[in-house]
Point group: D2
Chain length 320, copies 4
């Protein structure tokens, strides 16, 4: 093995650059060359590929976004696209790949492995919705971005005795909402994985207001419904002077946190070790604080486990 | 004069606490007592009033929100409410007041002055929409909150070659959008004070994309329209993979910036000096870097001047 | 059991307030009363104790420092002090305690348990130097504070092709330095747990500068030596235009990160569960992502394990 | 005029990149070409010069440091160096220059003007120590970095009833200390421009501690003495459990604030306008919120005016 290709795929996530740097840095330390593929699988097929020099890695660990850009490219599901991609790998002499992205991008990675190009997947998404890993690259940063926003919103809620419904990202998963909600001591955290009732939430707010806690923050996972819709439905149960806020895409950017940088660095180096050991078709994760790998096929049948106990914890300690 | 009352009114703004601290601190330094009135004019009428002790001012300069709370209270426009308020002032022995809030609250302040209770107004709002002051307390913090959010959104726009329409606050005024937009080098800044055309903006984006600048941020003042509506109208002119984001209430909270803390401190001390000089019915401002005061009556007929040249500046230097 | 006492001891750490809130909130949810003891063991002995009301817990999860204050109080090592403390516990009807602090404070906690007052210890220190827990409350925040400072220093290092030696906290342990160093891609991380040579570090800098990487950051654990001393010794091996920086006490303050808030919340609730189960003399930790408890006695003989492999990881992927 | 050269000189300051972008962007908008000169006057002499393309200006307004690098180069004081620099200007066809840096760099700028190459100076330094401008590029960011650090240190000071002496930058000027000190409500601000007595400061701390304000922050300008030295001298007047902290170089980096970005943008565009009007040897500033220019010769005889009244203001409103 002489050349490792790296691409980022799906929505960008803070820490992707730290992962790219770790893969490339580790590859160079092992005497290999690293090649960057721009715009994910689209760029692979188009041959938008360049050698990564050591100097390109200066000052990137701290940057949000992805220096390799990203793009959706559903065409890679078809063999035609895959074969074109493989043409390009041959052309650039790339022997193996690391793909950083959501589990959607693992399908393409598995196809490349089947075609004889070992590919390792790293979990890069703020949504934390990938099976067989406790955390994904970008999740910690996104949660902290939300928490800083919620701290600010708390100031206004507290000054005005107002209820805020704050919608956060996570696609179908409630992780971002659960961590964000526990961190602000939310009146309620509403996620797809836990049953909830609007009436109960309304009663909680009423209880809080009756007991002098008139500022109430509700953290809402986007997988449930939109903030404005929630506010409207909530208002059927009383007048809470409620406002809907949607934190939106700022969750996806910004300098990554230390945890995301360290985890991405570990995972990136580990991916190169797996490739050097002749492995492919594996998804890297972190479970119980240890680096792990699982066959990508296993992931497709599995569902990410959400730490739903956080909802109960929040309810208990935020009891008022 | 022995006792000065302080209240905050209208939407909260970062730096209001710094202003409250400055008024109370300066009052104490002058041998006076300071009284806090909770929930603005509503609390004045209700008698929700307490003596401020020096210890209450520890660690408040850095806090967002308002420790005196705020509330809307349109009832204070009627003389009945005013007379009730004056009853309370008498009851607590308060001789004069400082009101921190938007220019809406200056009406109530002027009424109190006419009733013999000198009242000074400080401009506390993130919207920067008060006449006779270059800056309001909270504006600088809100703009910096936006700029940090825009920096994050830029990461995603750049990684995905995407167009973002980011709506910021400001009520009817474009100041927040103009400062935020110049700070991120926006493709366009859309404010109520400057003529604009959707077609031109679409052409700019097309031009940028044709020249390799495929990430485009448009900063939109809430006074114009909503982000989602803008995205829809924009999409009539082409497919820009555009997303709408609304930064919303987080702009109103958070630790104030140095500029807001220093300006609020100056204005707060100055308000006490004016009261000690027997003045009332005056609105404090900062113009050309100097503390100024104007008769509140003059403000009601005036319009805040927006630095519209920022839009042209941004266009020129963001030329691509 | 009706009343649980809570105190914070040793150096303050971000997340202590989240832990206090969780202990008190969980206690109230279980029908117990929570009592706050100010200034650690000193306040216990002095009887500086008050009932915590639900309203006291509003808006504290986001605050740095400790609302219960902290103080050193070596006198509590003597039985005289302990007996006085127990007098106070009796006086206030407190049945059991939670102590949040470094492992030094676990000695006092164990004494109280031996005297019949079950006490649970929570690891509250930025230094991460407590055995039987992967992370301490405050560590993640301190590391992120450092990383933000290092990002800033990188800007200047890069603009001026300069070497910076940045000293971070951690007392005898290298954890803070290791995580901070990996996060910035340091040229070298110098910690007490790993052998190192000044000559090698100087050679690395020379190698980097010869290869066009002229900005070099060295992250130094305070347990090794001071930044200025390091700079002087380094300069014996060449002229690196090196500057020493000491990040100092700002590492101990600030709003806690999401991770610290969530972990402190979990640990606080867990401590109450242990007390309700009639347990005492236990130190709570988190290992492999799971809440654990260990007999305090075991901690006194143990040494915290440092993840020294982070140093090797950093060397490899920062290869230039 | 067809080509404008740009260089940054002296210590880097946040906002320098925004200024470079504005100069280059405005130049391009006027149909000119912009050339970047790396490493200040050293790079000018060495011919380290390149054409700036529009794409180089993407995503730089938000970056700290200087993308044109900086270096000290005292040799430019000699005519030999100047003539070499002019050789390079001729070689690259550069007709006029903008120099961004401290007033030290204005000497070189004036020499170039005298040699027939019109040069405009922009005030780029965090120290705010340049005459004829109320603010320099980078000052607002540095102050806010300090204020965030002071907010953190306050948490620890407050939790431990401790005194902190925090040294901030500013070279010979007290501006950074004054703004930082007012922003945190310092017990004392110690700057070169205002007489002070250690005994008085000690008495203030004693007074505060006697009145229940046991956390005391003293903000110290580096132009006076070092933090450790100050702590030692202070301790001659009592035991204040005082610690010295030096914020150091992190003040010079980081994403610039909105104010610095907007001001740098205005100044950069204005510099090009002056060059287009055939002017040279002028220093751009902002006074009373208006862009101004002054002959560089006038600056050399002048002293920057410090807003010393901030010290008195702080004393008054921090009265305890």
């Amino acid at each position: 093995m002489k050349r490792i290709g790296i691409l980022t795929s799906g929505g960008d996530a803070p820490g992707m650059n730290a992962a790219v740097r770790a893969v490339a840095g580790k590859a160079m330390a092992e005497g290999l060359e690293a090649y960057g593929i721009n715009y994910g699988f689209a760029g692979l097929v188009a041959g938008d590929i360049h050698k990564i020099e050591a100097a390109d890695l200066d000052g990137v660990i701290q940057r949000g976004g992805t220096l390799l850009y990203s793009a959706r490219y559903p065409e890679f599901a078809h063999e035609e696209g895959q074969l074109k991609g493989i043409e390009q790998l041959k052309r650039f002499g790339i022997d193996a790949l690391v793909v950083i992205g959501g589990d959607g991008s693992y399908h393409g990675a598995l196809r490349l492995t089947e075609h004889g190009y070992n590919t390792i997947g790293l979990p890069g998404t703020i949504d934390n919705d990938i099976p067989y890993t406790d955390f994904t690259i970008g999740f910690d940063t996104a949660v902290n971005t939300n928490v800083q926003a919620l701290d600010r919103i708390y100031d206004t809620a507290h000054s005005h005795d107002r209820t805020f419904v704050v919608e956060v990202m996570g696609r179908g998963a409630g992780d971002v909402a659960l961590w964000s909600g526990v961190s602000i001591g939310a009146t309620a955290i509403v996620v797809p994985e836990v049953d909830w009732s609007m009436e109960e939430i309304a009663n909680k707010i009423k209880h809080n207001r009756a007991n002098g806690h008139r500022s109430n923050l509700i953290v809402l996972a986007e997988g449930v419904m939109g903030a404005q819709e929630f506010v409207e439905k909530l208002s059927e149960y009383g007048d809470f002077d409620a406002r809907g806020n949607t934190i939106a895409h700022m969750q996806r950017g910004g300098n990554p946190t230390a945890k995301d940088r360290v985890m991405a660095s570990k995972m990136g180096a580990y991916a190169v070790e797996l490739l050097l050991a002749g492995k492919g078709g594996l998804a890297v994760g972190i479970q119980n604080n240890q680096l792990v790998n699982h066959n990508m096929l296993d992931l497709f049948d599995s569902k990410h486990e959400v730490e739903v106990s956080l909802d109960k914890l929040n309810d208990e300690i935020s009891f008022k």
